[in-house]
């Protein structure tokens, strides 16, 4: 294309560019400009300097990172984060798939709709509400779960206050909240499977169970792969809102994840440089993880993110 022709094409889209402008300004200001703020991870930044401080603060190199990796808590926090995420993936990833398979087997349409509608409900509640409910149910003094346990003659358990049970409570409540909503995508994918495949299998004498394993699962492997990649990319997140609302100093040992540690040490103590350094660490690792998971999916010839 000649330069003139190219320019004319650009001009012909001027309304579109105008439409796109507000959104791009937003992204520039609130997503890309903050990336420059990552510089403070390598500096000794004071919030009193405001935005300029990002560039005027003195360099301290990798000191913040040393502080983080060398801190007494680092390995504990990293371990907690990874273990909680891993547990959530191990249990929480297959659960919606299983739910979708079960719901798919239901022929009674009213019951099907009932189960689906009910299962999505917790997703729409905030963690403030769900954590509040959980605290009430699990309370050692008046929670109904402990009342049942006491009725069985066993000792009452402080679930959210004990190192043994806290993580299980986190994983279980997270699953309770999201399994229904997550199953929607799988149900939609299952609905797209060619029914002839099932008819053929049925004629070959395959049971419904065999059909589920042999037809349904392989047919949705692409969507499973995409969602898995997204989950792995968020490995270091481990659910800040949930943990923050449910944890307490008694269980820091098992509950403290990277984000909660950064919130206390970085934000509350105004160690902004430190918090930014850890945030940068997280972002970089997440990025690498997503890339790696994507590459793995490509090797296994499953659907990739791009």
């Amino acid at each position: 294309m000649t330069a003139a022709k190219r320019w004319r094409t650009v001009l012909s889209y001027k309304t579109m560019y105008l439409m796109v402008l507000p959104g791009l300004v937003y992204y520039a200001l609130f997503h890309y400009l903050p990336m420059s703020g990552l510089l403070i991870a390598f500096k000794d930044y004071s919030p009193l300097d405001g935005f300029k401080g990002i560039f005027t603060a003195p360099w301290i190199g990798l000191e913040n990172f040393d502080k983080f990796f060398g801190s007494y808590y680092f390995s504990k926090i990293l371990f907690n984060t990874i273990i909680i995420s891993a547990l959530k993936i191990a249990f929480g990833f297959p659960a919606p798939i299983l739910l979708a398979l079960l719901i798919n087997e239901v022929s009674h349409s009213a019951f099907k709709r009932f189960v689906q509608t009910v299962s999505y409900l917790p997703h729409f509640l905030s963690w403030v509400v769900v954590a509040g409910i959980l605290q009430l149910l699990l309370s050692p003094s008046f929670g109904i779960v402990n009342d049942w346990i006491a009725a069985l003659g066993l000792e009452r358990i402080s679930f959210l206050g004990s190192n043994e049970y806290f993580r299980s409570a986190i994983v279980a409540s997270s699953m309770w909240k999201e399994v229904g909503w997550a199953s929607i995508i799988y149900l939609a994918a299952i609905a797209g499977i060619n029914p002839e495949l099932y008819e053929a299998a049925q004629m070959d004498g395959a049971s419904r169970f065999r059909q589920a394993i042999g037809i349904t699962l392989p047919s949705i492997r692409n969507i499973i792969s995409v969602i898995f990649i997204l989950n792995v990319g968020h490995l270091l997140d481990a659910g800040f809102e949930q943990v923050f609302l449910l944890y307490s100093p008694q269980v820091y040992q098992v509950a403290d994840i990277i984000d909660t540690y950064v919130y206390r040490e970085g934000l509350l103590r105004i160690n902004y440089s430190f918090a930014a350094a850890v945030g940068l660490f997280k972002s970089v690792v997440a990025f690498v993880l997503i890339m790696a998971a994507n590459r793995l999916a490509r090797k296994l010839e499953a659907e990739t993110l791009w």
Partner: protein
């Protein structure tokens, strides 16, 4: 026979699951309506609306409710405005620079500056302690932009072409033709944003200092924490507070915070489902 058994098993499992979702709410409602501190025997104490009266008498409750409603209304309006304009713009396949713009948007989904740098930018822009601080930093959700863009791309080009042949400008086409056709998807995305605004509370923790800007979720959280402290100092307070236990207050507050969502939800959920399905299967 084997088929019948496993069918029954599946139904039973799903029923059990559904009940496990509904049970906590039933329990909350039951306890919030009684003056019994502990509903351990599942017995009915005096049914009373005392806890609800206490909550509604609290001025802060209505203020927070109004803040939440206001935030959701203004937030969704701005979200949709920015998202739809952006999405429509990048839905034009032949637009030069489109790929770069899409890349810039999608990149923000995998990498970001983090909480602190964003906080610095937001406060430097004078948004600290402002109502808009709850709305502007999260103005556009890249995923929803992609959903909207895909929708616009699926529209038959003939619609626009006939508009152009009639001499309409791009703007007229957008407002008179495209928008009316997009009502369902815009409604769905609006609902997604609305749920986000109604539930979100962390940005308040970060940016808001004054309690009269608290949305409902933040008030709720503070009430729960206050009530937690109350029970470690049981007995302090007015005489009738003893009859209405901190737990009941908590539960009633939870019910009231959940109530709008729970009531609207059955009517609205089919939009969510359609939106997710259309968006992800295509995207």
């Amino acid at each position: 026979m084997v088929g019948r058994l496993s069918q029954g098993l599946i139904y039973a499992l799903l029923l059990l699951f559904s009940l496990s979702v509904l049970f906590p709410f039933a329990y909350l409602i039951a306890v919030s309506l009684t003056s019994e501190t502990v509903l351990s025997h599942m017995s009915w104490g005096k049914v009373t609306l005392g806890t609800y009266r206490l909550i509604f008498a609290n001025n802060r409750f209505f203020d927070s409710f109004a803040i939440s409603v206001g935030r959701t209304a203004v937030g969704v309006a701005l979200n949709i405005l920015f998202s739809v304009l952006l999405a429509y713009g990048v839905s034009k396949r032949e637009m030069p620079g489109r790929k770069a713009i899409m890349l810039a948007i999608i990149f923000t989904m995998v990498f970001s500056g983090g909480i602190i740098p964003t906080y610095i930018v937001v406060t430097s822009l004078g948004l600290s302690n402002q109502f808009l601080a709850m709305i502007i930093p999260s103005l556009i959700n890249a995923f929803y932009v992609i959903l909207l863009r895909n929708f616009f791309m699926e529209l038959p080009p003939s619609v626009e072409e006939s508009g152009k042949m009639d001499g309409a400008t791009d703007t007229t086409i957008f407002f008179r033709i495209i928008l009316p056709m997009s009502k369902p998807v815009i409604a769905t995305i609006s609902l997604f944003y609305a749920v986000y605004h109604w539930n979100e509370w962390f940005s308040v923790l970060l940016y808001i200092r004054q309690s009269d800007l608290w949305p409902l979720q933040v008030l709720l959280r503070n009430l729960i924490m206050e009530a937690n402290n109350m029970e470690t100092m049981m007995g302090i307070g007015a005489g009738d507070l003893v009859a209405i236990s901190p737990e009941s207050i908590k539960m009633a507050t939870l019910i009231v915070a959940t109530f709008p969502v729970a009531v609207l939800y059955p009517f609205v959920q089919k939009y969510f489902i359609k939106g997710i399905i259309v968006g992800s299967v295509k995207g």
